[in-house]
Subunit: 367 residues, 2 copies
């Protein structure tokens, strides 16, 4: 038995889409979700990939995430809008928001949309990057349930709210920042715990808010810590304001864990913003200038251990190039889960077999 499989993105997306459809999600919406998850796997951000299917299906079944996503425009101007996601699927809500954002930015040069009552939307970079081909700069943030204390605090009050921004380039790959506002995601703490390793001081704090190197202290009532202390905390607070306060969405204890609470809607909020480059300068000149900036940055003498200087998002873009050709590597456990969902959904056997056609033996470093 192999520990991993290599899977082509197209059938992987189709299988996920069919599973979602069989669970009550409309065709177009199912495709939107699947494409976003598979894109994260292509980019090597497997934490936001098809591994999420299990949680999504569970939340759909429990009724805390709506199968039919109905997005309502609460109010709008030529350049702005507030949307209510109706506890629908985060990706579907986000695709509607991006489509509306594009329409508004085309007319108004700048556009911003704040969205309440949504769910996990996958990787923030996926949405910000949709603006690139339109020669726009994309800015996307989302709040999540409280996971970090404010500095000096001993309770989780603010999420490790992600911030993404995408900058179009010319011949070079676009610059795409996508960062959580904690030092590390919870996954890294859990990985250290499972290996019996200590975590570096500064990654997280125990239940008293004191720094700890023991992952058990974090898992048992402790918290993630904001990157740079007051800096990450400040950024996470700004995300809460732009996404949840500006949309009259949920904050703090009214946001429920996607992973642990299957009785209540996740109830997170997003904020999307677009800037048309041609409102400032000719997009061709801009993109040539971004290319020069990228070359300037990559042309940096290296430290002893380093092999290359990367721009934000470059490693993920490299992963995508590679995985589009070679296929996505998924661990056996994730593939088996998908197989079970696919069989339960009555998907034809020849398609399901695409999941396990290519066993992959090597240890994979980038997932």
């Amino acid at each position: 038995m192999s520990s991993f499989y290599r899977i082509n993105p197209q059938p992987l997306s189709e299988i996920c889409s069919l599973i979602l459809q069989n669970n009550g999600v409309p065709v177009e919406d199912a495709k939107t979700v699947s494409d976003s998850l598979v894109d994260a796997d292509l980019r090597g951000v497997s934490s936001h990939g098809v591994i999420r299917m299990s949680i999504y299906l569970n939340r759909l079944e429990k009724g805390v995430m709506a199968k039919q996503t109905e997005v309502v425009t609460m109010n709008e101007t030529e350049s702005t809008a507030v949307l209510d996601g109706g506890y629908g699927i985060g990706q579907v809500v986000s695709q509607r928001a991006i489509d509306l954002l594009l329409e508004k930015a085309k007319n108004a040069n700048l556009a911003a949309i704040s969205v309440r009552r949504s769910n996990h939307f996958g990787a923030a970079a996926y949405w910000a990057s949709q603006l690139l081909e339109h020669n726009m700069i994309g800015f996307v943030v989302s709040n999540v349930e409280p996971l970090m204390p404010p500095p000096g605090g001993a309770a989780a009050k603010v999420g490790n709210n992600p911030i993404a921004m995408a900058i179009p380039a010319g011949d070079e790959k676009p610059i795409v920042v996508d960062m959580a506002t904690s030092v590390v995601p919870l996954g890294k703490i859990l990985a250290a715990k499972s290996k019996g390793q200590e975590i570096p001081l500064g990654w997280a704090v125990d239940r008293s808010g004191e720094p700890t190197t023991n992952p058990d202290d974090v898992v048992q009532g402790g918290f993630l810590f904001p990157v740079g202390g007051p800096k990450g905390y400040g950024l996470a607070v700004l995300v809460d304001i732009l996404s949840a306060v500006l949309s009259n969405g949920a904050i703090g204890p009214d946001i429920h864990s996607m992973y642990q609470d299957f009785e209540n809607p996740n109830d997170i909020s997003h904020f999307f913003m677009a800037l048309r480059v041609d409102a400032f300068m000719d997009p061709t000149l801009f993109k040539a200038s971004v290319d020069r900036y990228i070359q300037y940055m990559k042309d940096t003498p290296l430290t002893a251990g380093a092999k290359e200087i990367y721009l934000p998002g470059e490693i993920e873009a490299n992963n995508k190039e590679k995985n589009l050709i070679e296929g996505i590597v998924l661990p056996k456990s994730v593939v088996e889960e998908l197989e079970n969902f696919a069989r339960a959904a009555g998907i034809q056997a020849s398609l399901i077999e695409e999941l396990t056609n290519n066993p992959y033996e090597e240890t994979v470093s980038n997932i």
Copy 2:
């Protein structure tokens, strides 16, 4: 002799303004600069306060910062503009940008202005905060000369570019984030060096890009390090793009140190953005909601050593309240410098005496 003086903000600003006027700066512009510097001192951000007068005067005298600031609009739309600061005074350039931004945001709900060929504009928070009374959210960033390597690099390629954002509140103090994208500013490294202390690992790297605890390694060819590594680097890159690339301004080696290079213009770039709250929701409801968010955050159990939970910008706002009543505390060395500039500018003796009327003996912790 006292080591410190307490000085009322009004005469302090008047003295700075008169010195600048005597050095060729028009009355209104001199007042703009002085008010910005004194506001930083009031907020306890003394690194961006009147201590900067010496450098500003030097740059004005050498002709690398223009005495008469002429800001030219290179292009504009209803909601955007690109400005050329003509190597004028950063605060004067920024005040013109903010005035134009306000005008545009009033009409278009969202507005953004990218500005090239400018100089140090003081604290970024000062400009973002000017939008608060108009019920707008302010976002202000600036690039500075390269001070940090990209992760894996052994040369400074990107500034510790500051990011500021101001959120209006109701009865509570506004939320104002103002952060450099390095772990710490250079001042903290210099302070450790002067005290013969080691610096924590992670603050900075030596000339090979390797982490160091010796402040001498940093001062002698080393570099500041981005907060959170790739995260601070990513944010600093975004600031470069929004400020300098979008305005066709200087990047990398074309930006010259304000502190060390008196032969060339500083040549930094800024980016200003405003979002009208009422484009999204009623500003009174928004501000009440921000107040509730602030109360929610402050109502957090404390860690063993902590006395209070602060929102971003709250400590600075508290400093300002206190210093408006008690006066600004400045070290003797800064006051003596100002006295010399004031005498050289022919300012009347009774005004100059305001600087030294109130000696202050205590050790001051917040400057």
